[in-house]
């Protein structure tokens, strides 16, 4: 399923809404999650999962081809942990 298929589906379930509003609703949700993570906040959606930001310290890495040392700057990466209910759903429980 893609984002546009999700929008179509939500539109079908809500025939009283304009398609462009459905588009805005879906985009707003993912945009809110993104902005929260960019602030360093966690997003917890019980039953679905939790998004958080993990920090990676600066380290000395290596170019695997040449073996030369390169310094890798410290960075933050988005992380998702599946919620219990969703994990159970995936396994037919």
């Amino acid at each position: 399923m893609t984002k546009s298929e999700l929008i179509l589906r939500i539109g079908e379930l809500n025939p009283h809404l304009y398609q462009r509003d459905v588009e805005r609703i879906v985009s707003t949700i993912f945009e809110e999650i993104t902005t929260a993570l960019a602030r360093g906040d966690r997003v917890e959606l019980r039953g679905f999962g939790a998004f958080s930001v993990k920090r990676r310290e600066a380290r000395v890495g290596r170019n695997p081809r040449t073996g030369a040392s390169v310094s890798v700057a410290r960075k933050s990466i988005p992380f998702f942990k599946t919620g219990k209910q969703l994990r159970d759903r995936l396994n037919g429980k």
């Binding site: 609703i25 809110e32 902005t35 929260a36 960019a38 360093g40």
Partner: protein
Amino acid sequence: MSEHTVTRAELSEAVYQEVGLSRNESADLVESILKEVTDALARGETVKISSFGSFMVRQKGERIGRNPKTGQEVPIRPRRVLVFRASHVLKSRVNDGIGKAAP
């Protein structure tokens, strides 16, 4: 860093602010979107949200694990797990720190 946890309530509030629907209907829409994503994943589909990321279902084979407390070997049944891969857009927004407004 001030760490705050965003929940469904805030997502619904954002939808409420953005579109002229009632708070109740906004909350129902948030729920319904999460449900559609969950249902697709339960069917084994990959869910790709452009400029956000993709959720993929991976099949894991059976393996022998150990109870860390007793050291006893226990089989871990084959199972399906969910993997989230953040898009480049999300990764770079998270790295740039400050939450930027949508383009």
